[in-house]
Amino acid sequence: MLKTEKSLEEMSKQQVVDYLNETVKPEEGVIPAYLLGDPKVYDIEHEKVFLKTWVFIGHDSEVPNKGDFMTRELAGYSLIITRDAEGEIRAFYNMCTHRGMKLCRADKGNKSLFTCPYHGFNFKNTGELVGVPLQKDIYGGNLDRSEMGLHKVKLESYKGLLFGTWNEDAEPLEELLGDIKWYLDILVGRAEMEVIGVPQRFVVNSNWKVGSDNFVGDSYHTMVTHGSIAKLGMVPNATYSKRGFQIHTDNGHGLNLGTPNPDFAFPEELKDEFKTNLSEEQYGVLSNLKNMIGNVFPNLSFLISHTKIKDQFISNTSIRMWRPIGHNKMEVIAWMLVEKNASQDWKDRSRDSFILTFSPSGIFEQDDTEVFTDITEAAQGPMPFLKNLTYNYTMGLHREPVDFIGPGVAYDDKFTEASQRNFYKYWLELMTK
């Protein structure tokens, strides 16, 4: 492997990019450890990934009514997401255009006017500046309010999933999603879905890519990291996690699809709604689904999990974002989704199974966070770079894809690392563009 006299810190940005090109070899299954621990790589990621591509910002059911708003972050910058009197959803930079004060400090609420705490400038939820205290007197009637609306953020949605980007030239969201849409239909397009309550939020000392990597294709860890779940009889056995398919699609997306399932994992009474919203092929997959774990590049992971709780099977659907807040720190934001037309009993049981398994207290999730933290810690500082420490991503390199009813490149069980290689391949493409 290439040796360099310089540390990453001393390199110019172009030198780092060249170095990435030489050392990151997803197609050979070689990923260097410094990618998880280096602040310079993190800074370039911010610029070339998070400021360039579409990033998840919420679900439209979180602002169901006219006048609803919520605040979110996009690549480290606060957004206000509003639904106006006509029902249109918009996103704005949460900054007063007069002196830059953060306009809104609540997580969510309902109001059509936002008043800046600094000088009282008033903005409508459509972004227009509609009021300036003492305006005529102090600006002599010369202030052009029409030039001072809130900075609008590009927003597009797919099946209720809202994405934002700072990049005015970003390709249309649906193009970026591409073939993963077929699977997102099963996840969030199968019925009218709603977020229950508010998302869970917690901070883990982990690089964000460890989370994406785990969800995009790593079912192999389930037998060990989540061995306690099989011991408790909540899943059939320790190797159940191998059965099914691994699929990846263009632009770094991927998933593991656990099949078959002798039980129907979703509310029986909504079968007609599912059939209306899905193609025959998609409904076939849904009917046989045991679980579905995947990642939309860069950091939106998703999950359908079907477990036995109190002698009864129940599924839960969730999406989670690994929001980077440093090279070794992320905020996990996890939303739980449920069919809006499901019974209250189903919704409650599904929610409680989500809380029990995937939340800060979740008995799956808590063991993952332990692993994520220790992987990140081991990758920190100059040594992993100097010693060229790498991770092995060669599992399944010898295998040929199979025919699958859905789009993408599919393998006929979940124990391969093709999805992780595909994730890093696209990551490298963006980083070195």
Binding site: V203, V204, V224, G227, P360, I363
Partner: protein, 169 residues
């Protein structure tokens, strides 16, 4: 506060101190024995609201929402050899204070509020986590003992700054 009320407060303080010791000493079975079969063990997600709008926590989404069966499952899980989140166990220290008996029927039931500060240290990590909040507890008197029948823990962070809640609050 008269002597009777002081003794009452003292009684529940002692209960909470004993509970804290069991949790800090990782005596989960003994801790579980303090629970009443009708238990609701809840920790709502805290929300940042505008102004003084209340409640400032979610009534629909929780970090814990267990009944006695689910809590038992958690305790049993910690005893398998695969509960990595607590291998080795965190060192915790629970500080209970500001205990107030809000309602009391002798030999029957009680409502007690208290503050809780948990110090958590993992492995060799020199950083520690602090979890702070208010407990809203309800007790039922059964077979000569006070059993916890309801706990709502209102945590003081909307983004929880500890890697997981593999520990109890």
């Amino acid at each position: 506060m008269n002597v009777e009320k002081m003794l009452l407060k003292c009684q529940f303080e002692q209960w909470l101190y004993d509970e804290a010791q069991l949790l800090d000493d990782i005596e989960f079975d003994d801790w579980f024995d303090l629970m009443h079969s009708s238990l609701r063990y809840q920790m709502p997600v805290r929300v940042n609201k505008e102004g003084v709008e209340r409640p400032d926590y979610s009534t629909e989404m929780f970090t814990f929402n267990d009944d006695i069966e689910l809590l038992k499952l958690r305790v049993d899980r910690l005893k398998t050899d695969y509960a990595w989140a607590e291998i080795p166990p965190s060192r915790t220290r629970r500080f209970v204070s500001n205990v107030r008996v809000k309602d009391y029927v002798e030999g029957e039931k009680a409502v007690v509020k208290s503050y809780l500060l948990i110090y958590r240290s993992r492995s060799t990590d020199i950083q520690h986590d602090l979890i702070s909040g208010e407990r809203n507890d309800e007790f039922i008197f059964e077979e000569g003992k006070w059993k916890l029948s309801k706990r709502i823990f209102i945590v003081d962070q909307s983004t929880i700054n500890t890697r997981n809640l593999a520990i109890f609050v």
